[in-house]
């Protein structure tokens, strides 16, 4: 068989094989180079796959040559390809931009191991995005989670350890709940393949265990995805991780879990459990709305910039779920589009944090006072990404919020309330981002702030880092003006998810 036939398996295989190589490469710069190359290669494959799924086709690959319901099948649809693009893209940009800060924050002899763990995160997340097997999702989820705990705790910040312990406990509970749910579905159907499950569940006379499975799966995945009120692990994990790690995981890790949630609920359950669409909407919509208001509300009063952006992620996750909770094409389109656009905005914001991290040691808001005068390009990129997060026209964030609001109006009289919440939360986003940007551009440097660097010597971040940050900001504008590509993929993803919904 030619290599071409194996392309669907490569996004997992490449980082997985590169990880042990990176772990043994010395000097440590070689390990970085290997990890970066593997990440770029995965990204290239992801682009190929995304282009291949543009027409709405699904690319299947039987692992080890075992045919579908018996062996593990990879099934790459538009949704998987889009998320794969986010994972590999975020990893590539973050690893290139993060090189110097990683070099500074992590002991030299641990760096090759750090890069190996990083690649395991990529492999695990990519695996979740493309596999068509429910148990395989669990295995990849644990691969990526265990590696994520390692990279988050890799820095010198001791609070990262307690944050990661909390994440480990909650993440494992979430994964175990998912495993219980899959067990109940397997008990009733005898299969683990999503498509096969969907087909076989229709003939089950006794659905109580399937209801139980749906409950376990949705709660477990919500815990992993940091859906309000199960978000407690997220803000501190983001705040205390090394900057490059935050830029990487904030862009993709929770979204991958949302993808599994959408797949399970829409493909497997909705067509087979009576009233599941209503149950899903009634369960998810209130949580989404509360999450939007809570995340934005807490962010307004938070003083640590990284934790503030973490709370903002909880709110943005609310938008994604809100779109999904409409259970129609417009809502799902907005939801999938927002997965992509929020990854762009939040990724760019945290990449700017990486660049700022070259000179700042702490990220309280007052540490950023006056930084705009010394690092105008970096803060410029941060500001563009912030506009995208708010949803200002001309940026990517506007496109998905527009589609979300249009979808919300389709919900009848409830729509007005939903639009009200979306608009209110966007205004709250203006407030919390303005609290960072206003003093960063206009205030004088705070002399008592411990994290602020010496006024005279500080300049821009290194050119390579700055280029990546500006590229990320430019992508926010590009996909705000020319959104055809993500729109197309999101459209096919919505169609594919709704195919089994009655």
């Amino acid at each position: 068989m030619s290599l071409e036939a194996h392309i669907p398996a490569l996004p997992v295989i490449v980082p997985l094989l590169a990880a042990p190589i990176a772990a043994y490469l010395r000097p440590r710069h070689l390990a970085w180079a290997a990890a970066t190359l593997a990440s770029i290669a995965s990204f290239a494959i992801a682009v190929l796959l995304a282009l291949a799924t543009r027409d709405g086709s699904i690319h299947r690959y039987a692992m080890g040559g075992w045919p579908a319901p018996f062996g593990i099948e990879l099934a790459i649809d538009s949704l998987g390809a889009l998320v794969l693009l986010i994972i590999t893209g975020a990893s590539t940009l973050a690893i290139i931009a993060g090189r110097e800060t990683i070099e500074r924050d992590i002991e030299p002899h641990r760096q090759p191991l750090f890069y190996a763990a990083w690649l395991m995160v990529v492999a695990g997340l990519a695996g979740i995005a493309i596999t068509g097997d429910a148990f395989n999702v669990f295995v990849f989820m644990e691969i990526s989670s265990l590696a994520t705990y390692v990279v988050i705790a890799a820095g010198s910040d001791r609070q990262a350890l307690t944050a990661v312990f909390k994440y480990l406990i909650m993440g494992t509970i979430g994964a175990t709940f998912y495993l219980i749910g899959v067990g109940f579905v397997y008990m009733m159907t005898g299969t683990l393949n999503f498509a096969d499950m969907q087909a076989r569940l229709a003939d089950i006379p006794y659905v109580a265990p399937v209801h139980l499975a749906a409950a376990f799966i949705i709660v477990g995945l919500a815990l992993k995805a940091a859906v309000f009120p199960l978000h407690a692990w997220l803000p501190n994990a983001y705040a205390h991780a090394p900057h490059a790690v935050t830029a990487f995981i904030a862009a993709c890790s929770t979204k991958v879990t949302i993808l599994v949630l959408l797949r399970f609920d829409f493909v497997v359950f909705m067509g087979n459990i009576a009233e599941h669409a209503t149950q899903f909407a009634l369960f998810v919509m209130p949580l989404a709305l509360l999450g939007i208001l809570f995340g934005s509300g807490v962010a307004i009063f938070e003083t640590n910039v990284k934790r503030l952006l973490g709370y903002s992620s909880i709110a943005q996750l609310g938008y994604i779920l809100l779109g999904a909770s409409f259970v129609d094409r417009a809502g799902l389109l907005a939801s999938v589009l927002h997965i992509f656009n929020h990854a762009l905005a939040k990724g760019a914001l945290f990449l700017a944090i990486v660049a700022l991290g070259h000179h700042l040691t702490r990220f309280e808001i007052r540490d950023l006072h006056g930084i705009g005068r010394r690092m105008p390009w970096t803060l410029g990129a941060f500001s563009i990404a912030a506009l995208s997060l708010v949803g200002v026209p001309g940026t990517a964030g506007f496109i998905s919020k527009w589609y979300l609001i249009v979808a919300a109006f389709g919900q009848g009289s409830l729509g007005l309330v939903l639009v009200g919440v979306i608009v209110a939360s966007s205004l709250m986003a203006v407030v919390y981002l303005w609290r960072i940007l206003e003093p960063a551009w206009f205030a004088a440097a705070d002399p008592v702030a411990a994290g602020a660097a010496d006024d005279k010597r500080v300049g821009e971040a290194p050119v390579g880092v700055l280029a990546v940050v500006l590229l990320a900001a430019a992508l926010n504008v590009w996909f705000g003006l020319v959104p055809a590509f993500p729109l197309e993929l999101a459209g096919h993803a919505a169609d594919e998810l709704l195919r089994h919904v009655p």
Partner: protein
């Protein structure tokens, strides 16, 4: 009989809740990890239980012509993977606890939180 016959599942539920309780109620990080292990073990039991077919034997085909009932071997293989995952999680958790003790000189959750608030 109906209730007693399902005792595997009752044990599953009880173990799950015992582990969950330890996770939530204990302040000591090592005890939390012990709770997590019990919690995961409960799920192993669930999978093993659902693999059992009444009157089934081990799935080894000695005589291809004889019609025998076999227990389902797949969940046991699945749970072998989950056991490996569980061990890795516990090992990583313990490694983090060791580093927490080095950094904070304590493994009690409430004391760590007090130290964090002070800094």
């Amino acid at each position: 009989m109906e209730i007693l016959g399902l005792y595997n599942y009752w044990v599953f539920g009880a173990l799950l809740m015992i582990g969950f309780f330890a996770l939530i109620a204990r302040q000591n990080l090592v005890k939390k990890l012990l709770g997590l292990s019990i919690f995961q073990s409960a799920v192993f039991l669930l999978y093993i239980s659902l693999a059992k077919v009444e009157g089934g034997t081990a799935p080894i085909i000695l005589d291809p012509t004889a019609a025998e009932i076999f227990s389902n071997p797949l969940p046991q293989v699945l749970i072998l993977t989950a056991i490996v995952v569980g061990i890795s999680t516990t090992a990583l958790g313990l490694a983090i606890v060791v580093r927490i003790r080095e950094a904070y000189d304590t493994i009690e959750d409430d004391e760590i939180r007090r130290l964090d608030r002070r800094s």
